[in-house]
Point group: C2
Chain length 402, copies 2
C-alpha cells in the first residue's frame, strides 16, 4: 500500500495487507501521536488495510513510541468508531466525538467561569489545528467571537497560515482582526530570534501575548482565548516543575483573571489532548496547517512533550492526571506567590510589569536597535505611552468581515 508520512512530507510503499495497528507498530509509530486517514476518513487501529489502499499518517505531536490497543465501537452509540481516546479507554464515531469535544470545552468554560454568551471573546488563531478547532467549537457553541491573527514574518509558513485563517473566517462570515509584527513594531520573528537575547520561541511567545492583550484592550474584548491543549500545558508544566519555577507555576492555570492593563486569559482546550484537537479539526473539515513551524527545531518544549509521551505510552492517562491534578490540587500551593508580585505600568507602553519597562518593550528595543526612550509603538510618541492612555489609542490593525 502507499503510505504518506508528514513532517517532512514523504511517501513510502509498504508491502502486504495488515491492520492499522500493525502498520503503525511496524513503522514504530505511537498510535497516540498520529491520525490515520484513508480517503478523508479517520481509521481506528483495528481497521484492515489492503495492497491498493492509500493512507496518510498525519502527526499530531512529535516523537514517542508505544504499542496500540484495539478499539472498535462508539462508546455513546455503539456505531463503528473513527477515533479512540486511550486515556478514557473510549472510542467515538464522528458525531459523538464532536459532541465529546464540545462537552469537554463546555465543561472547561463552566468550571472556571471563563466567559458567558454575552462576553466578547478574542480568539487567537495561528492557522493550526488547535486554534482553528477552538474557534470553530466556540462558534458552534454560540459564543460571540472574533478571530485575531498576528503575522510573524516566518516566510512561506506565515503566508500559508494567514491564507488558511483568512479563508476559515471568510467561509463562516466571521470577524477577523489582522496585524503584522513588522508593520506594527518593525521586526519579524526570524530576525528577533537571531538578534535578541531570547530564543526564537521565547520572543515569539512574548510578542503574541503582548499584541493579543493590546488588541483586546484597544477593541474592548472581555477575554482572550488561546488554543493551548492538554499536551502543551502538561509539557510546559513539566518544564516549569523540573526547575521549580514557582512563580511561573503560579500563573500556569486555565484562567488568568483580568487586572489593570491585562485582559482575562483563558484556555478552553486544556482538557483535550493534541490528538483530540487534531481529530476534531479533521472531522470538522477544517483546512489547517499541518506543517510544524520551521523555527521550532530544538524547542525545549518538544523535549518535555517527548518525555511526557514516553510516560504516557507506559501509563495512559499520565499527562491528564499530571496537568488536571495540578489544576485541582497542585496549583493552590503556588497561587499565593502570584498575589505577592507588585506590578507597575511600563514607562513606555503602560502594560503592567515588575520593572521600569516591560519585557516586550525591552525585547523590541534590543531587536530593532532603537533606544527604549526613542521607541514609538503603534504610532504613539514615547511621552504618551502611559497606562491611562492604553485604551485611548489603538494599534493599527485590519479588520475583516465586520
Amino acid at each position: 500500500m502507499k503510505v504518506r508520512l508528514r513532517n517532512p512530507d514523504r511517501q513510502m510503499e509498504v508491502a502486504g495487507d495488515r491492520l492499522v495497528r500493525d502498520l503503525l507498530a511496524d513503522l514504530s509509530i505511537d498510535p497516540d501521536t498520529v491520525l490515520v486517514i484513508k480517503e478523508r476518513t479517520l481509521l481506528t487501529r483495528d481497521r484492515w488495510l489492503e495492497q491498493d489502499d492509500e493512507v496518510e499518517i498525519r502527526p499530531v505531536i512529535s516523537g514517542g513510541s508505544g504499542r496500540p490497543r484495539p478499539v472498535a465501537r462508539c462508546k455513546r452509540c455503539r456505531e463503528p468508531a473513527v477515533v479512540e481516546v486511550r486515556r478514557h479507554n473510549a472510542s467515538f464515531c464522528e458525531p459523538c466525538f464532536v459532541h465529546h469535544v464540545h462537552e469537554q470545552i463546555r465543561r472547561s468554560i463552566k468550571e472556571h467561569g471563563m466567559f458567558d454568551p454575552t462576553d466578547r471573546v478574542l480568539v487567537c488563531v495561528s492557522g493550526g489545528k488547535d486554534s482553528l478547532g477552538l474557534w470553530d467549537a466556540l462558534l458552534e457553541l454560540g459564543y460571540r467571537t472574533t478571530g485575531m491573527y498576528l503575522g510573524l514574518g516566518i516566510g512561506e509558513y506565515s503566508d500559508r497560515s494567514w491564507e488558511v485563517v483568512r479563508r476559515f473566517a471568510e467561509e463562516r462570515g466571521v470577524e477577523l482582526i489582522h496585524t503584522d509584527l513588522r508593520d506594527a513594531y518593525g521586526y519579524d520573528i526570524p530576525t528577533a530570534g537571531r538578534k535578541g537575547s531570547r530564543s526564537t520561541c521565547s520572543v515569539c511567545g512574548l510578542s503574541k501575548r503582548y499584541v493579543f492583550n493590546r488588541v483586546a484592550l484597544d477593541h474592548g474584548f472581555d477575554v482572550v482565548a488561546t488554543g493551548h491543549n492538554l499536551d502543551d500545558e502538561a509539557a510546559t508544566l513539566l518544564g516549569n516543575t523540573l526547575r521549580w519555577q514557582t512563580e511561573y507555576m503560579a500563573r500556569q492555570f486555565p484562567v488568568l483573571s483580568q487586572r489593570e492593563g491585562m485582559v482575562k486569559k483563558v484556555k478552553p482546550l486544556y482538557r483535550l489532548s493534541e490528538r483530540e484537537t487534531a481529530a476534531y479539526a479533521f472531522l470538522r473539515g477544517i483546512d489547517y496547517v499541518v506543517e510544524e513551524c520551521p523555527l521550532v527545531a530544538g524547542n525545549t518544549q518538544l523535549k518535555y512533550k517527548d518525555a511526557m509521551n514516553h510516560l504516557e505510552a507506559g501509563s495512559p492517562g499520565t499527562k491528564a492526571s499530571f496537568y488536571l491534578g495540578f489544576v485541582d490540587r497542585g496549583a493552590a500551593s503556588f497561587r499565593h506567590r502570584d498575589d505577592q508580585v507588585d506590578l507597575t505600568p511600563c514607562e513606555r507602553c503602560g502594560q503592567p510589569t515588575t520593572g521600569r519597562f516591560c519585557a516586550f518593550c525591552r525585547a523590541v528595543a534590543q531587536v530593532t536597535g532603537v533606544r527604549l526612550i526613542d521607541l514609538s509603538v503603534a504610532g504613539r510618541p514615547p511621552e504618551r505611552q502611559v497606562a491611562s492612555e492604553v485604551s485611548d489609542e489603538v494599534m493599527p490593525v485590519e479588520i475583516y468581515g465586520r
Copy 2:
C-alpha cells in the same frame, strides 16, 4: 576485546580497538549509567581500549541512552581522572573523587542539621552500593554509626546481601544489628507481594521503614540514615509530582524531624547521583551486591528513573536541578500541609498513624492472615501494644560486633 556486561551477567567479544566512549556509543549505552572497569581500575571515556583488553561495563542505573563527552584531568589536582561527573562538567582522580563525595555528604549533613558527632546514627544497609557507601563514608567522617540489616527473605539475593553486609561490618569491626521479617513478623517479601493488596516494592518499603524506626526507638538511636541518592529522590519526586500527591511531596525531604514515636530520618546522599555512589563504592573497594533485586521488574520507580535519564541525557543537570530545586524552593509550598496531619498511636503497636491501626500492622494482618486483634508483634500481646510502652520492650534482634 572481551566485554563483560551485567544484569544479566554476560560476556561478548568486540572486534577492533577504540575509545571507551565509542565502545559505549556502539553498544548504545548511556555513559552516565555505567562504570567502565579494567583490571579493577575505572576508565574515563577518553581511554583507549585494545584487542587484548578485558573490560567490565557495570550498570549503576537502568536504561537510558545518550552521547558521551570527553573529559580527562582531575578538576582539583590535574592528575589523570578516573571518574567524570557530567552535571558538574568535572572529572576527578581517585583521591579527589573520594574527597568530593565526602564533601557532598558533609555539606548535606551540615545544611540540614542531620546529626552531629555525638549522635548515635543507625545506618540502614541493604548490601547495595548506596547504603554501604554511606556507612563507609560516615565511618570515614568519624560519626558514631551502627549498621542495621533487615532480612527480607528474597532467596539467594537476600542470602548474598546479608553475607556482604556481615563481612563489611566484620572487616571494619563495627556494630551491626540484624533481624529478619519472617522471624519477627512471620512473613517474607515474596509472600507479602503475592498475598497482600500492596505491590511487592510498596510492602517492602513499608516494612523497612517500620522496622528501622522500631529498632531505632528500641535501642535509643538519635537518627536513622538511609542511602537514598539523587536519582532515587528525583524519580520518587517525579512520580509524586505527576500525580500531585501533595501530602507525599510535603514529606519528601532530606530530613524528617523526630516526633512522638518516630525517630528523625535523614538521607545524606541526596546530593550524589547513583553513578557517583557506585563509583565511590567501587573506588573504596567495597564488595557490594551489583545484581538488582529479582522482584524489582515492573517497578514504577524505574519508569520514572528512565524518564529522568532521558531528560538528563538531553540536558545534563536536569535531575539535580529538579530535586535540589525542590529542596530549595518547591518543598516550602507543600510543607504546611504536613503540619496539619493529626497522628494518634496505632492501637496495636503504638506507632503514630492517621487511623486506628497503622499501615504496617494492617499489612501484616493481611499477609499473615491473622486478625489484627490477635496479632502479636515482637513477642508483645496485643493489649500491651500502646505508645508509652514502645520503648520499654524491644523487638528481638541479633547484634554483631558489640
